[in-house]
Symmetry: D2
Subunit: 263 residues, 4 copies
């Protein structure tokens, strides 16, 4: 099953300090899901007061609840074989809304960073001649050609409405714009946090995932990574849902690093 499948060697390291006793939510392990086989995964944490796993959104991956004070170091390594079916999106039909399964409905709706309710006229005007996968690919190509990848131009409050006119940002912002355009087109779209080959500089990566012809497909509008070379960590409505570290209290980041290479 993992014969010719691309294999990713993943290393991620976090080093944080928490002055007070703090609740922390981690989400950085490759998910155990049919489309990828996680081999030899290890996670090492410095001592914490509390450690508990809960299921991630859509039961994809897990989140880890911690409670601790002081320094937190996390070291995660894994080898993941990817056997995701990718194929030619442009040929795939959209599922008409009235035939969508219940669990896809939430990904039609606007979210914190994806106010798709405001974009209905725009997608009709700009992409109205296309449907389904062909429309998704046209929107992806448009984002990739019109937007400049640039760090430091977006913040934790930047929405797809801002990014749409600013025409720049990082993977998170590219993803929000494409997700917003897809939802405004009545195509369910969610936000996937992934490890991927080819991301420069190396970091956690974010990629939209669209629902076409009854299945979910990763589509990277930054053009940096291929769907068959990504290991999924988790999914959500947008970046708000899949932060790799969320702290309920003051946190100081000392360092963090991600390395993904072909295994």
């Amino acid at each position: 099953m993992t014969g010719n499948a691309p294999k990713l060697a993943i290393e991620a390291a976090l080093d944080y300090d928490f002055a007070e006793p703090t609740d922390v939510l981690l989400q950085l392990e490759a998910a155990f899901i049919p489309e990828q086989t996680v081999e030899a995964a290890h996670i090492d944490l410095s001592p914490v007061e509390h450690f508990a796993r809960v299921l991630g959104q859509d039961t994809i991956g897990e989140r880890i609840w911690l409670r601790l004070q002081g320094r937190l170091t996390v070291r995660y390594t894994a080898t993941v074989a990817v056997h995701r079916i990718c194929g030619e999106l442009a040929a795939l039909p959209a599922v008409p809304p009235h035939l969508l399964p219940g669990e896809a409905v939430q990904y039609m709706l606007p979210s914190r960073y994806c106010p798709s309710d405001q974009f209905a006229n725009l997608v009709d005007a700009e992409f109205g001649a296309l449907a389904g996968g062909a429309r998704v690919m046209a929107m992806r190509d448009w984002v990739q050609s019109q937007f400049t990848y640039r760090s430091g131009t977006s913040t934790a409050t930047t929405t797809a409405l801002d990014s749409f006119v600013q025409r720049e940002g990082v993977c998170r912002d590219f993803a929000h714009v494409l997700i917003t355009l897809a939802r405004a087109s009545a195509i369910p779209a969610r936000f996937a946090s992934v490890y991927a080959l080819g991301v420069e500089p190396q970091d956690f990566h974010a990629v939209p995932e669209v629902f076409l012809d009854g299945a979910w497909y990763l589509v990277d509008p930054t053009g940096m990574a291929k769907a068959e070379e990504m290991a999924k960590i988790g999914v959500g409505r947008d970046a708000a849902d899949v932060s790799f570290l969320t702290s309920y209290g003051w946190a100081q980041m000392n360092s963090q690093s991600v390395r993904v290479s072909a295994a």
Copy 2:
């Protein structure tokens, strides 16, 4: 079990026109959930091309997918006995984040209309002396006393950030503000669409639901309705998730009405 339980007699009627073949999502039936017993529910629709039920969010209630062209009339009647445990919220402790179940995590996160990520300092400053149910009640009292219920002042793009300073709106806006304050306090909060006694003028009603001491509790910051006299239709992150009618195409509303009385 429903001996002394309050009973609600519900009637809702919609009358819409769709010029083109259109996909429509309905969510207006009282949910079949342990906390309420739905007796004698009927839903009558004018002829449609397609009708399918899917589960609502958190498996609470159902959504109905329709496809049709022309006129749509919906008439829904039900009697619902409510045996929700309500009690005194002020005495309930919050669940510390690190002990939250996985399915509650999404209700800690910001959403389309509830940018709770911006309110952390504010809730610390204004409500920092209180925790858990006592904090929720203080926030509820504050919203109820500071906000004026007024139709026509908010729109489909009004967020809790806008409402927080505008100090006016309808049930949707009151709910968004309280949900935002709760999430910023690390208390999971979701948006419930309900039928309720006491809503004036009669209409679909929206009420925040907070997660305290391991269970969900309805808290109405408009002060119009009591938790034990509400029949839940569905829940979601905010108003975006539980619209009673969503049309994927142009719709004309001819009339709609809601009547809730003690049965």
Copy 3:
């Protein structure tokens, strides 16, 4: 001088009620400026406690401060001969920023409804091949062809950022988008309140005015009115500056009407 000049016959009527003693700012008279000759203007107001004229922004037109309680009726009639130089904008050069006069600088800057600071990359990408009047005309044509004139879709908080993606609105919104695109292109642009022939339905009209080749030019992205058939009331940075009636307290509108015809 007014020989062949188009002449506008203007009638405007307001009818409002103020329950409390209230300060009111009116701005609805055609301005006495070189480009238009105001003939036979009359303004009749019901009794007020206080009436004072102050200069409008850029010393164009006047604002009227009132103080009153109870009913206010205003009836304004005027005949205005317009001898504005219009010509072919497409051939006009922009004034390079470093040669702009001091009074034009404020119209390069973002304002309440025109966050032009967010649109710099977009105008480069979409209109970068053009400069000056040719760029303004291309932006005007784009707005006119891409936006739908539709009442009731925008509100008092709708900005050009919202309108840009919503692709619909009224004259105010069309103006805000074009002003924003011009400023982002380093072309000063302001918002003019006018009476104009051809506005359907008849109402106060709003039109962007751009600074090219050392002078201001009206450009209507709704396509409803011609610059030589407009009588200017006042100018400002955006709609916030030239409301025809601003009330410092609760006001009830009973009726208002505008009629503009060829005299």
Copy 4:
């Protein structure tokens, strides 16, 4: 006249690079206005292609238009004697709107970063018992006590609406909030760019100025500086109007510094 007046010794230095020929707007010299005497001012610039002075907003101070390519160094030194009348604001009455001079009207209106139109109900509820200078001082005290001065938390798109709930920011954000509250109270308020004693860390400073009893008064909600120890550079509706350096093209900042000491 400048006998016992506080004297400020000011030094400001900018060092920027412009890869392309670029238009640049500077505004960093202390204004020649009756309330302060500028003694011995010098400005030294590296060679530029074009240099022109234009009047600042409200004819306070000057802006300098430059055109240049390559490196720009600016060194400004001045001694300024301040003989501003400060007095006890709390005792000053507001000017009723209907008695406001024409030039104050624009400072009643919302602007890019000060959406005062959204705060009317809030100021009524929170500060409705006070008027004029007493209200301004209560609002100033509230901002000072509720907000934390913290760099890096706000960006070029942060408005007073954001800051109001985030409860943190830098002088620009403190100023925007107080200006917004004042305008929502029908008290004209503008944004002054100043050099001031006591600013820590030393930098350009921003302070609201309110119109009370017929004159403008500086009020610093950060509490860092006194009105009698500030030298005004320029004024505007908000930060958008008084940037010390605006570049119409890509700019790279190498360094900048401000030093203000008692002379």
